[in-house]
Amino acid sequence: MDRYARMFERLALQRQGAFIPFVMVGDPDIPTSLDIMRALIRGGADALELGLPFSDPVADGPVIQAAAVRTLAGGVRISDCLEALRTLREEHPDVPFGLLTYANLVFHDGIASFYQRVARAGVDSVLVADVPVREAGPFATAAAQEGVAPVLIATPNADAERLAAVAAASRGYVYVVSRSGVTGAEETVRHEPEAVFRQLREMNAAPGVLGFGISTPAQVRAALAMGAAGAISGSAIVRRIADGLGDVPALLGDLETFVREMKAATAPEYDVA
């Protein structure tokens, strides 16, 4: 059984949802980033969703764009990011690591070579933000050969045919977005995605996890109530990092506390105050 399957099985037994924080690997430098990822795990993250920095992140809003800029401006290379993940994998053999990145980083040097490299770094899944299911074939095939799960996005505007294609192709989990737009927009959930989660279950898809617009414990709770198996929080965390870099020890404590509060909301006894 792979790490995602074991995680969802454990959470099902505990009657909990998954809380999955997102950060950019290498933001703002490799040692600090490693400490940040460790803090997220200490706070109780069930899995990590990790950005590989790209120069032209068209699916990201200003907060995550700025993280990519910080990381690349610091001279961080993709090989440095993967080396850091390999280190973290040795420390945490069971926590699923998902990568979120862009097509050119996967494609430019040969798709097969990319998936070999990330598999060696201990990565469990890869979501390529600008590869829709229509173009996903070669990516999914190369991923499967290395035992890496291809993750696809289920959108609120998908018709049944597209949703079925996403359900069939996505492994590990399905990344469900609840609204149009890019990451980090300051608005609450606009489309009610219950129907998407229900259809994904009917199609025997991998568990659906809600991304976009998750920045408070109440939103985690709401996501699970809509039928999500978990919730991903990105911009809320990356913004804390941007604001907290002046005092890294305090930042690490703040992130650990934030994750602990968000994780607490995944338990059934959690009381929405």
């Binding site: 068209v58 809003g61 290379r77 097509a103 050119n104 430019h108 600008d130 173009e135």
Partner: protein
């Protein structure tokens, strides 16, 4: 999607999943309109009565008159708006209306596509927002004023390199949130399917006219068709009708900036590697990690690290060949055409003029060279003044 949207292995639809329904809707409207006589008639009328087609073909009287070559200029600089861009914005605006979009957004580099989009925004009463790199806002200020005068909102983009590629990123982000009400009026033959095919088809009128005009005025087809290539829409527009004429050389001229080996240029087809940017598999200027490179060109409209996927295909098959032209050579051609012919070309188009001059001056037999004079140079007077003062 009905079409596969590929040119050989290039092209495709590499966009976030959320945009796929918007691309499908656009492709359907485009294919439907292609078969619709009324659509063609409406577009033809607009091209003729509003935009001023057909544009003339001018045989240079003085430029390279002492060589065996004749240089023929397809005068897209005389089109309303001052560049070839107006051809295809009329087509896309009609499509936007067809699918009920009330708002249009666009990216712009030199500002020519932004001006063209502002024109159709005003003409059709569409809310219009133009994304423009902050650096380009400075160096093409006159075009910013034109856009604003016609009622468009111009948003300076401060991210990344602050030029054309960053303006496209920002327009794509807008579209991901607004596709239900908004048409992204992409300005060139790049981007995801159906844009490369659709923009080429709306621009091929340039080559269709030029072909008839060559036969009428020269009595033969040209030996070579020469056009500058940034994203590549004016080149695809004039190439399209000659692709099947194997005796006609197709020559694309890329911005070699400070030189092809300087690291400061925009010569994607000559120096790029395969990659994926802005929706398409194409050639890209990028570093060894796959991060997209900063580019440089004297002309904002050619300052782009990618290129339309059909050009990548034409380069791969050898049907078209691509050469570089430096900033200095382009500026020299800009001055020569102004002084010798009384025509001030856009700095973009001056790259194609420079290549025509180079071929003419080394010719030892009679040659007919057809050059797409894709835009006029009024917008470049600030740049020209600065270069002349520093000379």
């Amino acid at each position: 999607m009905k079409l596969d949207g590929r040119f050989g292995s290039y092209g495709g639809t590499y966009v976030p999943e959320i945009l796929m329904p918007a691309l499908e809707e656009l492709e359907a409207a485009f294919l439907d309109a292609r078969e619709d006589e009324d659509f063609h008639e409406t577009l033809q009328t607009l091209l003729r009565d509003f935009a001023g087609r057909p544009t003339p073909l001018w045989r240079c009287r003085n430029l390279c008159a002492d060589t065996p070559a004749r240089i023929w200029l397809k005068r897209e600089d005389l089109l309303h708006g001052g560049a070839h861009k107006t051809n295809q914005v009329l087509g896309q605006a009609l499509l936007a209306q067809r699918i009920g979009k009330r708002r249009i957004i666009a990216e712009t580099g030199a500002g020519q596509h932004g001006v063209a989009t502002a024109i159709v925004g005003a003409l059709f009463g569409l809310e219009t927002r133009i994304y423009m790199g902050a650096i380009d806002v400075e160096r093409q200020h006159l075009n910013v004023l034109r856009m604003r005068l016609m009622g468009a909102e111009v948003v300076p983009v401060e991210s990344g390199d602050r030029t054309l590629k960053d303006a496209i990123n920002e327009a794509m982000r807008d579209w991901a949130a607004s596709w239900e009400t908004t048409h992204y009026l992409l300005g060139t033959v790049a981007g995801p399917h159906p844009f490369p095919t659709m923009v080429r088809d709306f621009q091929r009128v340039i080559g269709e006219e030029a072909r008839h005009q060559m036969i009428q005025q020269a009595g033969r087809l040209p030996d070579a068709v020469i056009a500058c290539v940034g994203g590549g829409s004016n080149a695809m527009g004039i190439f399209a009708d000659f692709v099947d004429e194997e005796d006609v050389d197709l020559i694309g001229v890329e911005p070699a900036g400070h030189g092809l080996d300087s690291g400061e240029h925009g010569a994607t087809l000559l120096r790029g590697r395969g990659g994926i940017l802005h929706g398409a598999h194409t050639l890209l200027l990028q570093n060894e990690d796959g991060q997209v490179s900063d580019t440089h060109s004297i002309s904002a409209g050619l300052d782009y690290p990618g290129v339309g996927p059909e050009h990548a295909h034409l380069a791969a098959t050898g049907r078209a060949r691509y050469v570089g032209c430096t900033d200095d050579d382009a500026f020299a051609a800009f001055q020569r055409l102004s002084r010798e012919e009384g025509i001030i070309p856009a700095l973009e188009s001056a790259h194609a003029i420079a290549e025509a001059i180079r071929i003419a001056e080394s010719a030892d037999t009679e040659l007919d060279l057809l050059v797409n004079l894709s835009g006029r140079g009024d917008k470049d007077m600030e740049t020209a003044r600065r270069l002349l003062e520093n000379a």
